[in-house]
């Protein structure tokens, strides 16, 4: 039973100087599970994601990816990162590379796949996000929604164990949000394991297996969306949901 746990975070702490951003976060993610983390800005959601793939170094706590202890000093972190996809709020496509090369670069340089194989795989993933015809466009020639879908393709092409999304729609023009959420719903149906920081209530309601509400460096409440949205136990959750549902 415990074998299908892909990610386990235990008592994670992180501080910037005097500011303690993560005050002991613990969470578990099973294979194929979709967890949405919600909370006001500045409560440490992005920091949590960045600590999981060690883009930031946590001060204390343990992280396991499958059976590998990520926070072990001896772990080759580049080998961990290639197994954890990350989709960024501001896409962060490489502007000097075409959409295709953006997706290919991890395949050729990190996974060391032969060029032709990498190309096939990259095109397949661009096709999946509906952008095969934009393969030779540069990021500056794409719309925000298209850039975000390329970013998703770039993460997926590495066949990661899980993909983390850091507010994937909050930098987008409202009319472009839909296309990105549709792509994410499709991935959810295919059984991709996802850890998502997002304020998209609609998406969270129908795609998430679990919602986590985060406040001041802690997870204050978690549960299936049906419960969290209809009958939150915690006073903070109640007020928080009222505010975002009112928008």
């Amino acid at each position: 039973m415990g074998d299908d746990i892909i990610l386990r975070v235990r008592n994670l702490h992180k501080r910037y100087g005097d500011l303690e951003v993560l005050k002991g976060i613990s969470l578990e993610l099973r294979k194929g599970e979709i967890v949405v983390i919600m909370g006001r800005s500045g409560v440490g959601k992005s920091t949590l994601l960045r600590c999981i793939n060690l883009l930031m170094e946590p001060d204390a706590g343990e992280i396991y990816l499958g059976k590998i202890k990520v926070t072990d000093a001896g772990t080759d972190i580049t080998k961990i990162r290639r197994r954890i996809g990350m989709v960024f709020q501001h896409f962060e496509l490489f502007p000097h590379l075409t959409a295709l090369d953006n997706v290919m670069i991890g395949l050729t340089k990190v996974l060391k796949l032969p060029k032709e194989e990498a190309r096939e795989l990259a095109l397949k993933h661009l096709d999946k996000v509906g952008l095969r015809d934009k393969a030779y466009s540069y990021p500056a020639e794409l719309s925000g929604g298209e850039k975000q879908r390329v970013d998703i393709a770039r993460a997926l092409a590495m066949s990661p164990d899980l993909v983390m999304f850091d507010e994937p729609t909050s930098a987008l023009d409202p009319r472009l949000v839909g296309e990105v959420l549709d792509t994410m719903r499709e991935l959810a149906r295919e059984g991709l394991t996802m850890l998502i920081v997002s304020h998209e209530v609609g998406f969270a309601k129908d795609a998430a297996d679990r919602i986590m509400i985060m406040n001041e460096g802690k997870i204050v409440e978690e549960g299936p969306p049906s419960l969290i949205f209809s009958d939150p136990k915690h006073e903070f959750t109640r007020r928080f949901l009222q505010r975002i549902l009112a928008r």
Partner: protein, 228 residues
């Protein structure tokens, strides 16, 4: 009629000067290109090492850049020219000494240009690259440098133009480059106005060609659709 005669005479005079100046132009070009290339080598290495933030090296390299920036090239040139035989007990050909001195000087400036290019790449780009599993060096090689170098090409070519003009200072260590040869002719003919006019025009042509080349390279490597 008189004016036409003056012009013809000047042209004849220029024609007579050409073989001597052409030889000087060759030395000017050789020393500009080689000291710029040496500077590019030094500059890239220093920029990368400074960005890598290795404690001890960091202070040393910062000192190098600051000393070079804070002293005149002419002084550096004379210091190295007279210093090498005293410190190392060897006498090297002046041209080599000159190229090395200017190379060390422009290397400091180029390192700052390249470093500012590297540091202008947003943190998010580095995160995205590392999140894919790339190592620090791969990130530098495939993500940071290709973007940074595009950005600094115009500044580097401008530096090449500066270096070309700076090589005129090599005349003080008796290198027969363009300006020094110009002076020779002036001593013999007493026509400084015409001679230095012609010498100046020759520098200008180099600078002009370089700046056109800069535009060409900028266009060639411009990222489609990107306005910076």
């Amino acid at each position: 009629m008189e004016i036409i005669e003056t012009i013809l005479n000047t042209l004849y005079f220029f024609y007579d000067c050409l073989p001597i100046l052409a030889e000087g132009l060759k030395i000017t070009l050789i020393s500009s290109v080689s000291s710029f290339a040496l500077g590019l080598l030094i500059g890239s290495a220093v920029a990368l090492l400074r960005v890598a933030k290795i404690k001890f090296l960091h202070y040393l390299l910062t000192a190098y850049v600051e000393v070079i920036r804070g002293t005149p090239l002419l002084v550096q040139l004379l210091f190295i020219f007279y210093g090498i035989p005293i410190v190392f007990g060897i006498k090297m050909p002046s041209l080599i000494v000159g190229i090395v001195a200017i190379g060390i000087c422009t290397g400091a400036y180029q390192s700052e240009m390249i470093r500012s290019g590297i540091q202008s790449i947003p943190e998010g780009q580095i995160e995205a690259s590392q999140a894919l599993g790339m190592t620090k060096w791969q990130t530098m090689q495939f993500i940071v440098l290709p973007q940074a170098l595009r950005m600094v090409i115009p500044t580097l070519i401008n530096e090449f133009i500066m270096v070309t003009k700076d090589t005129s200072q090599l005349m003080v260590i008796a290198i027969p480059e363009l300006t020094r040869r110009g002076s020779w002719i002036v001593y013999r003919t007493f026509k400084p106005f015409q001679v230095f006019g012609l010498v100046g025009a020759m520098y200008f042509v180099i600078a002009y060609v370089a700046s056109r080349l800069s535009k060409y390279i900028e266009n060639k490597y411009r990222i489609r659709g990107l306005i910076r």
